[in-house]
Symmetry: C2
Subunit: 348 residues, 2 copies
């Protein structure tokens, strides 16, 4: 490029491009927005003028009239935590959120839609609501897993297009994308039984999350259906440390455990450490099945056998559903449930 875009000060406006091209502002607008009814020669001239002036449309002006911002928010809501450094660190360290972001970005990018990531806790909801109402974004991908979280309802009442990351605890006429949690737990139980484990236990996620409840219920019900009694349960917190502590407690209270279903890979990593620290071999003495199939599963030694949920695809689907809702706001909510699969590695 030999010509250099104007810079530093103000960007050129559409009027200046129009003048440079010797056409009207309307024609420039048509060229930029790909309207078909522009003569090829004129289109060419305009495009050259755009390149020469270094013109870039002003988004504020554009979205003032189109009422579109071409961006959507990814709201990560964790109602319990204080909004502080460790909260953000947890979010930005948990592979789950990375996968969500990756999946959503991948789906949005071909449509030139930007993702604005907004972590939030309960003290902060009004900020988020205000942000959404101000028209910064055209829609919301809402990651919310706690059943008492008021945000899904609040966002829904806002009337802004939204898709939630999990089945809402209370019935809500909102689109969501989820994985069949109970089926995942069934697969884990089935696998542990199949490899001969008989004294099973589980480390659940926080039980105020529907997903944790479903995984726990699914695990229990599968075993109950096979005539096995109740199993020891410890409630974890989806962190590495929490998994370690929970496993320690489980093994000290029930030293004869030979199979462990841990409701997340991150917790499994900690649990694996605890089990091995206590002198048990994995999987021979204690078999461990995780949940997620995140990058953490490959950070473990031995490598983690786990239930894969296709988080990236789920996030991409959330984005697709959201874009459909933005395009046609009248439609009824649409929900998609994905199937988990068993990924066998070394730990079970």
């Amino acid at each position: 490029m030999t010509t250099r875009p104007a810079r530093g000060g103000h960007n050129p406006t559409m009027d200046q491009v129009a003048e440079a091209a010797g056409v009207s502002r309307a024609t420039v607008s048509r060229v930029i927005n790909g309207a078909p009814s522009v003569d090829a020669k004129i289109r060419e001239i305009v495009q050259r003028a755009i390149a020469e002036t270094g013109y870039v449309p002003n988004v504020a002006a554009r979205s003032l009239v189109t009422r579109k911002s071409n961006s959507v928010a990814l709201v990560i809501s964790e109602p319990d935590r204080p909004f502080d450094s460790s909260f953000l660190n947890r979010i930005f360290t948990d592979p789950y959120f990375g996968r969500i972001t990756a999946g959503a970005t991948g789906a949005l990018r071909p449509h030139d839609i930007h993702l604005v990531i907004i972590p939030t806790d309960s003290t902060d909801h009004h900020h988020v609501i205000r942000y959404l109402r101000q028209g910064h974004v055209d829609g919301v991908l809402l990651i919310s897993s706690h059943e008492q979280d008021p945000l899904p309802r609040q966002v829904h009442e806002l009337g802004i297009p939204a898709v939630v990351s999990a089945r809402p605890a209370a019935p809500l006429a909102v689109s969501f994308v989820d994985v069949d949690q109970r089926l995942g737990a069934h697969l884990a139980a089935e696998h542990l039984l199949a490899r001969g484990c008989r004294r099973l236990a589980t480390i659940s996620g926080p039980l105020d999350m529907p997903s944790s409840q479903d995984r726990l219920d699914g695990f229990r019900s599968y075993l109950a259906n096979r005539g096995m009694g109740d199993v020891p349960v410890v409630e974890g917190d989806f962190t590495r440390h929490g998994g370690e502590a929970s496993a320690r407690r489980l093994l000290s209270e029930h030293p004869d455990i030979d199979g462990l279903f841990v409701a997340s890979d991150l917790m499994s990593e900690g649990a694996l450490r605890a089990v091995q620290d206590l002198g048990r071999r994995v999987p021979d003495d204690v078999a461990v099945v995780g949940f997620d199939d995140s990058s953490a599963a490959l950070d473990c030694r031995p490598l983690l056998t786990t239930i894969r949920q296709p988080v990236e695809e789920m996030a991409a689907e959330m984005a697709e559903v959201l874009m459909a809702r933005i395009a046609a706001p009248g439609r009824l909510p649409r929900s998609v449930v994905f199937q988990p699969t068993l990924v066998i590695r070394e730990s079970a």
Copy 2:
């Protein structure tokens, strides 16, 4: 609140608030923007009208005239990686980026400025540049650590206020915030020598990063100044796996190593695993000092002795410097260098 904000359809406009309050649009604007020259009674009336109508200013209209968006971009530039799922997963799994985000958010939030997080690779720079030129944001926090990364220069030439996360490789009239990398390496070397280690080695970061070079140079020069010869070096990649592989290689080639300086905590975690897998005790056989003092340092066994860089404060400072530049664009670039400190735990 007994009155309910209008919702679902369009938000109310300022005109409607003005009518409800029986004043002009200009007065409503003044009330919203806290102009002092409004009569207290009228202000009161207007505020009530705002509450009753559930009015929220339209950001597009506002920023069209003010030329401010009240948000800044956090651009995370990793030129080498393909922009795919694993790239995003790495970014969202590395505690470093979590700390950056936490620090920046914390500093920006009191000023009601939003953070738009934009991960990018080299195939993607033009997207980012376009995004910035479109006026989505008032300024940029640029996380860029590779010396051949063209983005800092490109952003600089855009003329948009920017602060970079590290000393630029090539001289550039741009504000940056950094830590004294060489000093950090000195502290690590000093500590290893002080505890009696004599056969040192180091796992560096990618050597196309100035920060990695500085840490390596600092480590070497400290030892050279104490009359110690050259030490074995393996170049790592700032991942857990990379750290593990590097440590394995180092120990197989130099079995007598008794002190290891690893240029990041994440790599240290892997290195610790490798060292122990190979039957060495930490710190007695091999002492390990990391770099960062991130959450990973506490995920290690034994707990990691490391060089702390105050990433959150650094990010907060970046945000402060950026806001100052946005407020007064004419000023000369300003740079801040933080001091690292040694945090002694168990691994050395």
